[in-house]
Amino acid sequence: MDLATILQVLDTTVRLATPLLFACLAGLFSERAGIVDIGLEGKMLAAAFLSAAIAAVTGSVWIGLSAGIVGALSMSAIHGLASITFRGNQLISGVAINFLAQGLTVVIAQSWFNQGGRTPALAGGARFHSITLPGAEALREVPVLGPIYYELISGHSILVYVALLCVPLSWWVLQRTRFGLRLRAVGENPAAVDTAGVSVERLRYAAVMICGVLTGFAGAYLATGLQAGFVRDMTAGRGYIALAALIFAKWRPWAALWATLLFGFLQALSLRPDVLEGVLRIDVSSQLLDALPYILTVVILAGFVGRAIPPRAGGEPYVKER
């Protein structure tokens, strides 16, 4: 096992963790405001499709990204309508959104592009390309640190750095601003926020919309950064892994970063079974690695490794006293 292999696996880890991180932070804002969201998967999928489709048509990845965010936002709007305005069951709404995105993306893709439910392959300006950070080429020859900087830190697409920046930003918004304080309060005790004269509905809509924007980034990164185009069901359960990471992180931004990196690392390992076999000298089935995020989450939920306590008012529609 040499440095190059380790760096390769870690590099893949960062790439695979990015969509998870966006989605996990998205879920964090929503759930901290008391709106449980199991529709992350669907929002990502909608964004992935629209970003790839619009990028393919316009040739501009930035227009594609905006379209992807609009797609995820419209799914968020449905979720908000169902769970805030009409006080419906948030879980069922999430399930509906996942199916809606799963079906609509393929139906529309087939109708627009006629390629069996996928978009044309993206190239050139229609994709996010990796960017080389300043000095990476020059420092490349420095032993150990050079390759780490060149391979691991530099050379990702811009959205990877945006995702990493979102972590301190989310922490700051939630912990250091008035909006964040109110948002957290509305997830714990909406009646108290209401008594203070702040609109519970408006705060929750704001949280759901932030969730939409972030899942929009997640989906757009999948289709235009990680891969070159949309294929059916391309999120492949990432929305649920993000949900698992959210529980793993106990609904905190910095912990979300570590949790998504861990789950990204597991995904990267299951792509390179030879690495693990080389280290452990035993045959580890890739199915076990695929299942590990879910198993870990169940263990966490069972309370064996610290307790994960969700926001208290999560999942409950708020009925203003009449």
């Binding site: 399930v95 509906a96 139906v107 089935s285 199915q287 076990l288 695929d290 169940v298 309370g303």
Partner: protein
């Protein structure tokens, strides 16, 4: 006092929700440049126009009855079992093991053994999330979602590893002839009047009907059912009445998981006759829509399951004859879940208002003079 008569709750609201879902489905079909009316005609013709179509419709319906009942039973205890998919996958694993390794003299014995094993496997897969909910308070929705993925990985592992038959495909060997269930064609066809030719509907359909009756007896005619419903209605009240929450959560989820697992006698034993990847094909999730539409009542579940069977078979015909892909069914399914489940209040609140104004307004032509002094 109830805000509206029961018939409105049971019939009118699902009907309005269904019309809304149909309307938006038609909008989607229009938007992709196809004709919704033609599409509906093709679906009806393809799914209900022949015994062959019915054979497929009822085959799909059988799957959905089992998973729908599974969700419905859990609903009565106010639990959302979203893990029907994983439980059905595990049921399939149980059926495969029984059919592959036990030489049965007759299909009836094979069916009994397979149904029992499928139920046990499904129940076992629901048992861990149930235990975590009952003892540790871990949210059952999240744990059952996680268990769906774990089940998929496990199935993958078995089909690539220990149970894999010779050949390229990740699938088990074909089950022996003695474990073959009679199809509708075997049962109802005569040489001069062939019916259901080649359609996969089989004897499991009747097992599904028996399951409906059993669930009705359980929920409304047994002590346990009463306890389940009281627990679902109000946990503190049930606790005060001496009902053990741990016991109810465990039993409800075991029954629910068992029902979802039993789906495997239809799709794995009755149709595929071997275990393949992704054997449940999303039927576990359709159970959610079916239970919501059927208002968690076995009769409603049965009707909703037939409706979704129609959608599935009709959707397959659509992709054959028009430019509408089969995924349109998923869209329709999403809209049904959205309107009957999540946006229930959007339909309910205006209707409640209509009924309460109707009730308040004195009817001029009504014979009964029981004066209603509501104003």
């Amino acid at each position: 006092m109830q805000k509206m008569p029961q018939w409105a709750d049971v019939l009118l609201i699902p009907l309005v929700s269904l019309i809304l879902a149909a309307f938006f489905s038609a909008v989607v079909i229009l938007a992709i440049g196809e004709n919704p009316w033609e599409a509906l005609k093709i679906m009806v013709e393809g799914a209900l126009g022949s015994t062959y179509g019915w054979g497929y419709t009822l085959y799909y319906a059988t799957n959905f009855i089992f998973t729908g009942l599974a969700v419905a039973v859990a609903n009565h205890a106010k639990m959302f079992n979203i893990g029907g998919e994983g439980q059905a996958v595990m049921g399939g694993l149980g059926v495969a093991l029984v059919c592959l390794y036990i030489p049965f003299p007759h299909w009836t014995l094979a069916l009994l053994a397979a149904a029992a094993t499928a139920a046990v496997f499904g129940a076992a897969w629901a048992a861990i999330p149930a235990l975590l909910q009952a003892k540790r308070g871990s949210h059952i929705v999240i744990t059952t979602i996680m268990f769906n993925f774990i089940a998929a990985s496990l199935l993958n592992y078995f089909l690539i590893g220990p149970l894999k038959a010779d050949g390229m495909e990740p699938a088990t060997a074909r089950f022996p002839e003695a474990a073959r269930l009679p199809t509708f064609q075997d049962m109802f066809s005569s040489p001069d009047n062939p019916l259901f030719r080649g359609a996969p509907a089989n004897v499991a359909f009747f097992v599904a009907i028996l399951a409906c009756i059993a669930v009705w007896l359980l929920i409304w005619r047994s002590r346990l059912g009463y306890e389940i419903r009281s627990f679902g209605w109000s946990e503190p009240a049930a606790r005060y009445a001496g009902i053990s929450p741990v016991r109810i959560i465990m039993l409800t989820m075991l029954i629910s998981g068992g029902l979802a697992g039993m789906m495997a006698i239809n799709n794995v034993m009755g149709e595929a006759e071997r275990l393949v990847l992704n054997s449940a094909e999303g039927a576990g999730f359709i159970g959610i829509a079916v239970a919501l539409m059927g208002r968690s009542h076995p009769l409603g579940v049965f009707l909703a399951a037939v409706l979704f069977g129609f959608l599935y078979q009709g959707g397959a015909e659509l992709s054959l004859w028009t430019g509408i892909p089969r995924d349109m069914v998923v869209v329709i399914q999403a809209l049904v879940i959205l309107f009957t489940g999540a946006l229930d209040n959007m339909v309910r609140m205006p209707l409640e208002r209509v009924f309460s104004t109707l009730r308040r307004a004195p009817k001029p032509d009504s014979k009964s003079t029981t004066a209603r002094t509501a104003e």
